[in-house]
C-alpha cells in the first residue's frame, strides 16, 4: 500500500534495510517486549483518498449551523468581528505556518520579526512597557498572571472580581487550586465590581487583584480605586482587557496596572468553535524578567546588522526546569501573527474606529430592543460591546425562536449566575449593520412571548 505523504518506495526500503543488515522492518521493533506488542491491526478505518476524506469531513461540517448562516449577537468571550481577507492569506504562507519555534535566529527572522512587531503592538495598545510573545488564551493568560503574582509577592490569596467571565474564573481556580493559592471572589454591585467589598477583602495576604474590563456583562469598570487597593496591600494589579476596547477605553498602562492580560481572538482570529485563539500578556518594566513564555528581543548580528532573537530565556522552563514558575512552551505563534497583521492593517485609526462602531451599534441595539417593551435594562453603567437585558420569556426558548429566524441570540446568563434567570447578554460588533440590528428588533416583535 502506498501513502502520498510517505516517499519511501519498496526499493528504497529494501536498500535501507540492507544498509542496516536487517531483513524486515519488523526487526526495527524487536526491542519492544512481546507482552506489550499490539499484535493486531489498529481498530481504525482503512486509508482513504483526499476526495473521500474531504466528503466525510464536509458531511460533518454540514451538520453545523455557523455564524455565516446565523447573524451573530452573541459574545461572552468570543467575538464576531470582521476579519480582513489578507489575514488568512498571509498566515497561510507556509514559510510561517510550517516553521517551528525560532530556535535558529539566522533562518527564523521572519517569525522573530513578526513577534517583535506583535510585542510592540500589544505593548502600545495596552499602554504597558513590555509584552511577551503570546499565551494559550485569555483565560490561561489570566491564570499565568495569577501564578506570577503568587510566585513573587508575599501572601497566598488572589482576589478576583465576580464580574470576570466565569470561564476565566474557572481556569484561574483550576491553576490556583493545584498551585496551593486561595482564590477569593469579590462581589459585584449593579454589574460592576463592588469596590468597598474589594477594600474590605484585600489584605497583606493578597498577592494579586484581578479585574476584567469591559467585564463579563459588557460594563466598563473604573479601575482607579482597584489599583490603589492592590498597591496599598503590596499586591499586583492584574487587568484583563479586551484589546478592541482599547481603541476607545482607558488602558491598563494609564491605570497603572502591573500586568495586562486578555483574549486576542478579536484581533483577526476566526471563532473556530473556541480555538485556537491567543492570550496576550504585557507588564510594567518591573515585572519584565518574571514574565512567562517566549520573548523576542532586538540585537545585532556579527556584521552589526539589526537582528531578532529569543531572549531572557533564563526565565523559561527549559532552563529553570522544576524552578520555573510557568511550564508554558510553544503556544499560539500563528494566532499572534494573525493579530499582528490585523492590528497592522487597521492601524491607529482603524483600531479606534472598530471600537467606536462596536460601542455605538451596541448602544443603538440596546435602546431599540428596550423600545420593543419586551426587555428591561439591568445595569446603568457605561458599557462597551455587550449589555444585559431582562425579559419575561425563558432565554433558551427565546434563542430557539431567534435561530428559526436566522439569528444567534444573546448569551443566557442564567447558565452561570442563578440569580440572573431570564437575563440575556447581547453582543454587537462593528460587523453588525444597522439593518441587521433593525431586523433583530423586528424579529423580537414577532416572537411569541
Amino acid at each position: 500500500m502506498r501513502f502520498p505523504y510517505i516517499p519511501n518506495t519498496k526499493q528504497d526500503e529494501e536498500k535501507m534495510l540492507k544498509v542496516l543488515g536487517l531483513d524486515s522492518v519488523d526487526r526495527l521493533f524487536d526491542d519492544i517486549p512481546e507482552s506489550i506488542k499490539l499484535g493486531r491491526r489498529l481498530n481504525l478505518d482503512v486509508p482513504r483518498s483526499e476526495s473521500e476524506v474531504s466528503k466525510m469531513v464536509k458531511h460533518l461540517a454540514n451538520k453545523n449551523l455557523s455564524t455565516e448562516e446565523l447573524v451573530c449577537f452573541r459574545g461572552a468571550g468570543a467575538y464576531d468581528h470582521a476579519i480582513p481577507s489578507v489575514v488568512h492569506h498571509l498566515i497561510s504562507r507556509s514559510e510561517f505556518y510550517t516553521a517551528y519555534t525560532p530556535y535558529q535566529p539566522e533562518i527564523s527572522q521572519g517569525t522573530l520579526q513578526a513577534i517583535f512587531e506583535y510585542q510592540t503592538m500589544i505593548a502600545n495598545i495596552t499602554g504597558m512597557n513590555v509584552a511577551n510573545a503570546s499565551m494559550y488564551d485569555g483565560a490561561s493568560a489570566t491564570a499565568e498572571a495569577a501564578m506570577l503574582a503568587s510566585a513573587n509577592q508575599k501572601g497566598d490569596t488572589i482576589l478576583i472580581s465576580e464580574t470576570v467571565n466565569p470561564e476565566i474564573r474557572d481556569v484561574v481556580k483550576t491553576y490556583m487550586r493545584f498551585y496551593n493559592v486561595k482564590v477569593v471572589e469579590v462581589p459585584s454591585k449593579d454589574g460592576l465590581t463592588d469596590m468597598d467589598a474589594l477594600r474590605e477583602t484585600a489584605s497583606a495576604d493578597t498577592v494579586g487583584v484581578i479585574i476584567q474590563t469591559p467585564n463579563f456583562f459588557g460594563n466598563i469598570e473604573d479601575c482607579t480605586e482597584a489599583v490603589e487597593i492592590a498597591h496599598e496591600n503590596k499586591a499586583l494589579f492584574i487587568m484583563n482587557v479586551d484589546p478592541i476596547s482599547l481603541g476607545l477605553l482607558k488602558t491598563p498602562g494609564e491605570y497603572g496596572a502591573d500586568i495586562a492580560v486578555g483574549e486576542g481572538q478579536v484581533l483577526g482570529n476566526s471563532l473556530n468553535f473556541g480555538g485556537p485563539y491567543l492570550g496576550f500578556m504585557a507588564s510594567s518594566t518591573k515585572q519584565m524578567r518574571k514574565l512567562p513564555g517566549r520573548i523576542v528581543g532586538q540585537t545585532v548580528d556579527l556584521d552589526g546588522k539589526r537582528a531578532f532573537t529569543l531572549t531572557l530565556q533564563a526565565r523559561e522552563q527549559h532552563i529553570r526546569r522544576e524552578k520555573a514558575t510557568s511550564n508554558i512552551c510553544s503556544n499560539q505563534a500563528l494566532n499572534a501573527l494573525a493579530a499582528t497583521i490585523y492590528m497592522g492593517l487597521l492601524g491607529k485609526e482603524g483600531m479606534a474606529e472598530v471600537a467606536e462602531q462596536s460601542a455605538t451599534k451596541a448602544y443603538y441595539a440596546k435602546q431599540e430592543l428596550i423600545k420593543t417593551g419586551k426587555f428591561r435594562s439591568v445595569h446603568d453603567a457605561p458599557f462597551f460591546r455587550e449589555f444585559v437585558l431582562e425579559t419575561d420569556i425563558d432565554i433558551e426558548d427565546l434563542n430557539k425562536q431567534l435561530a428559526d429566524k436566522g439569528f444567534l441570540g444573546g448569551y443566557n446568563l442564567g447558565k452561570d449566575y442563578p440569580s440572573d434567570k431570564n437575563r440575556v447578554l447581547f453582543c454587537v460588533t462593528e460587523k453588525r449593520t444597522k439593518d441587521e440590528i433593525d431586523c433583530l428588533v423586528k424579529a423580537m416583535e414577532e416572537i411569541t412571548w
Binding site: 501513502f3 506488542k37 489498529l42 478505518d45 469531513v57 505556518y97 503556544n331 505563534a333 492601524g347 449593520t433
Partner: protein
C-alpha cells in the same frame, strides 16, 4: 529580495489606510454622552498606518526570511517536523467549522461535537486508553492536565501524602516545570548511560510520598524503554501513577500502545504525530487521555454521546476543572481528524515504520563520523554526542550553524542534557531517501571540514539573511519593542 529590512512601523505614513469599515449609519448615539471621558483612552495608539498592498508585500518579504518544513529538511529532534498535508488546512477553514461560535446551542454544532467524539475514540484506540479530553492547548498544558489528574485522583482517595513526582534527568524541561506548576515537588532520578530508567534508582526513589512517574517511551535518546513493564509494576505497587509524555508517539503507532505498557495517563502532541502545523511556535493541541479509573478527573468539558445526540459534558464534579476557555483548540482537532481519516490504521502503522527506518538509516551512516553514545537500533530519532574527533575545536553549535549554509534546519542541539554536545536527529517518515542521503553527505562533509578548515564552521552561517546574533546583548539591555525615533 531578502535584503528587505524594515519593520511595519517603519513603512508607516500619516493618513494611510489599509482597511475600510462599513458606514455606521447610527445617528442617535453619541459616545461622548454615554461613556465619560474618565473611562476613555487619553493616549495615542501607536500603530502603523499602511495600505493593504504595502502590508501584503511586507509580510510576504518577512515570511521569506523563514525556514519551514515546506522549505526544506527540518530534522529537529523531539519536535517531529513532518509534512503538514494541505487538505487539513482546507478542512479546518470550512466556514461551518471556522465560523462556529463556541457558545452556540448544542443542536447547532452536532457535526463539530461528533468530530470531537470520533477523534477522542481514535486517540483512545491509538494509545490504548479509555477516555480523552481534547481541551489542553499544547503539549505542556496536556502535561499539566495529566499531573493535576494524578493529584486529584490521590486526593479523592484521601491520600494527601503523595506530593512528589519522579522525573528522569533525561526529560524535557516542561516535565519538571509542569510538575512544579501542578503543585508537586520534583524528584529527579539519574538515568542509565543509555538514557533508560535506572531500576535501582527508581526503587530507591519510590515510597508512599510518590504520586507518579513521568516518562517518554521511546526515551529522549530515541530508545525504547525495554523495562517498561517492570517499571510500571514497581510504580503501581508503590501506589503511584504512570504518566506518558506523548512527544515520541511517532515511533510506535501500530506496534505498541502506552495503555498496554501500563501508563495511566497520556498526552499527545497533535502538532507532532498528527501533522498539524507547528505555526512558528503554535497553535498546537495536547489532548489528555486516561484509563478508566482516572476518567472522572479529566478536565471539562468532555464530549459525550447520549443516544444519537452529542453533548459537552460540564457536569463532572470530580473534574480538575477548566484549563482554558471553551472546547480546546478545535481548529487543530479538525486537522488531526482529517489526517487520521486519510492514513487509516495501515497508514499510521506505516508512518511509524518509516519514521524509525529513516532514523536508523541516518544513524548507521553517521556513526563513523560523529560519536554515537549508544550503538543500537533506535526508534524515530537518535542522539549523537558531537563530533567524533574529540580534539576538534568545533562545537556542536558550530556544526548546527554550518548546516544552515547547506540549506538544512539543524537538529535539536544540547538536548537531552544527559548527552554531552548532543545532536538530536529526527527525520520523520515524510522525507525521501534522496533527502536523507544528501543530508548524510553534508553531515559527513561538515565533520571533515571541522578537521580541515574549522573556521568554516566557526564563521557559519554566511549565506543566511543574518549571521550569528549577539544574544548577550539582547539579554543584557533588552529591546523588546520598536520605539518611535
Amino acid at each position: 529580495m531578502v535584503k528587505y529590512d524594515q519593520l511595519i512601523f517603519e513603512i508607516s505614513k500619516e493618513g494611510r489606510k489599509g482597511y475600510a469599515f462599513p458606514g455606521c449609519k447610527v445617528d442617535n448615539v453619541n459616545l461622548d454622552e454615554v461613556i465619560p471621558s474618565a473611562l476613555r483612552r487619553g493616549t495615542e495608539i501607536v500603530l502603523p498606518e499602511v495600505s493593504e498592498p504595502q502590508l501584503v508585500r511586507h509580510y510576504t518579504q518577512v515570511s521569506m526570511k523563514n525556514f519551514g518544513v515546506d522549505t526544506g529538511f527540518y530534522p529537529l529532534g523531539s519536535c517531529t517536523m513532518k509534512y503538514n498535508p494541505k487538505i487539513n488546512e482546507d478542512m479546518a477553514s470550512l466556514p461551518k467549522f471556522s465560523a462556529l461560535h463556541p457558545h452556540q446551542e448544542e443542536r447547532t454544532v452536532q457535526g463539530a461535537l461528533e468530530l470531537m467524539h470520533n477523534l477522542s475514540g481514535m486517540l483512545s484506540e491509538i494509545g490504548g486508553m479509555d477516555a480523552f479530553s481534547l481541551q489542553p492547548a499544547a503539549g505542556a498544558q496536556g502535561e499539566l492536565a495529566g499531573l493535576m489528574i494524578i493529584k486529584a485522583y490521590h486526593e479523592k482517595r484521601g491520600d494527601f501524602k503523595r506530593t512528589k513526582i519522579i522525573v528522569p534527568d533525561s526529560a524535557h524541561g516542561t516535565n519538571p516545570a509542569s510538575a512544579h506548576v501542578a503543585g508537586f515537588d520534583v524528584v529527579e532520578i539519574k538515568s542509565t548511560r543509555d538514557g533508560a530508567i535506572d531500576i535501582e534508582n527508581l526503587k530507591a526513589a519510590l515510597n508512599d510520598e510518590i504520586a507518579g512517574l513521568m516518562l517518554t517511551n521511546p526515551s529522549t535518546l530515541g530508545l525504547f524503554e525495554k523495562n517498561i513493564v517492570e517499571i510500571a509494576k514497581l510504580v503501581h505497587e508503590a501506589g503511584g501513577q504512570l504518566y506518558y509524555d506523548g512527544a515520541n508517539l511517532n515511533a510506535i503507532m501500530g506496534q505498541t500502545r502506552p495503555g498496554d505498557m501500563g501508563f495511566d495517563v497520556v498526552h499527545y502532541n497533535l502538532h507532532k504525530t498528527f501533522t498539524t502545523p507547528h505555526g512558528g511556535g503554535g497553535p498546537g493541541s495536547g489532548p489528555v487521555g486516561v484509563k478508566k479509573h482516572l476518567e472522572p478527573f479529566l478536565p471539562k468539558p468532555v464530549v459525550t454521546k447520549v443516544g444519537d445526540i452529542f453533548k459537552l459534558d460540564n457536569d463532572r464534579p470530580d473534574s480538575i476543572g477548566r484549563l482554558k476557555s471553551f472546547n480546546g483548540n478545535f481548529g487543530i482537532l479538525v486537522r488531526a481528524y482529517t489526517y487520521i481519516l486519510t492514513m487509516g490504521a495501515e497508514g499510521l502503522t506505516r508512518v511509524s515504520e518509516m519514521a524509525v527506518l529513516n532514523a536508523n538509516y541516518i544513524q548507521e551512516k553517521l556513526k563513523a563520523h560523529y560519536t554515537l553514545p549508544v550503538d543500537t537500533i533506535c526508534k524515530h530519532e537518535f542522539v549523537l554526542a558531537g563530533l567524533k574527533n574529540e580534539l576538534s575545536t568545533c562545537s556542536t553549535l558550530d556544526v548546527a550553524k554550518r548546516l544552515l549554509d547547506h540549506g538544512y534546519h539543524p537538529p535539536t542541539i544540547y538536548f537531552p542534557l544527559i548527552v554531552p554536545n548532543a545532536i538530536m536527529i529526527e527525520p520523520t517518515e515524510t522525507e525521501s531517501l534522496e533527502t536523507l542521503d544528501a543530508f548524510i553527505d553534508v553531515m559527513i562533509q561538515i565533520s571533515k571540514e571541522a578537521d580541515e578548515n574549522p573556521e568554516l564552521l566557526k564563521n557559519a552561517p554566511t549565506t543566511t539573511v543574518i549571521r550569528r546574533v549577539d544574544e548577550v546583548m539582547a539579554a543584557r539591555s533588552p529591546i523588546l519593542k520598536w520605539e518611535k525615533q
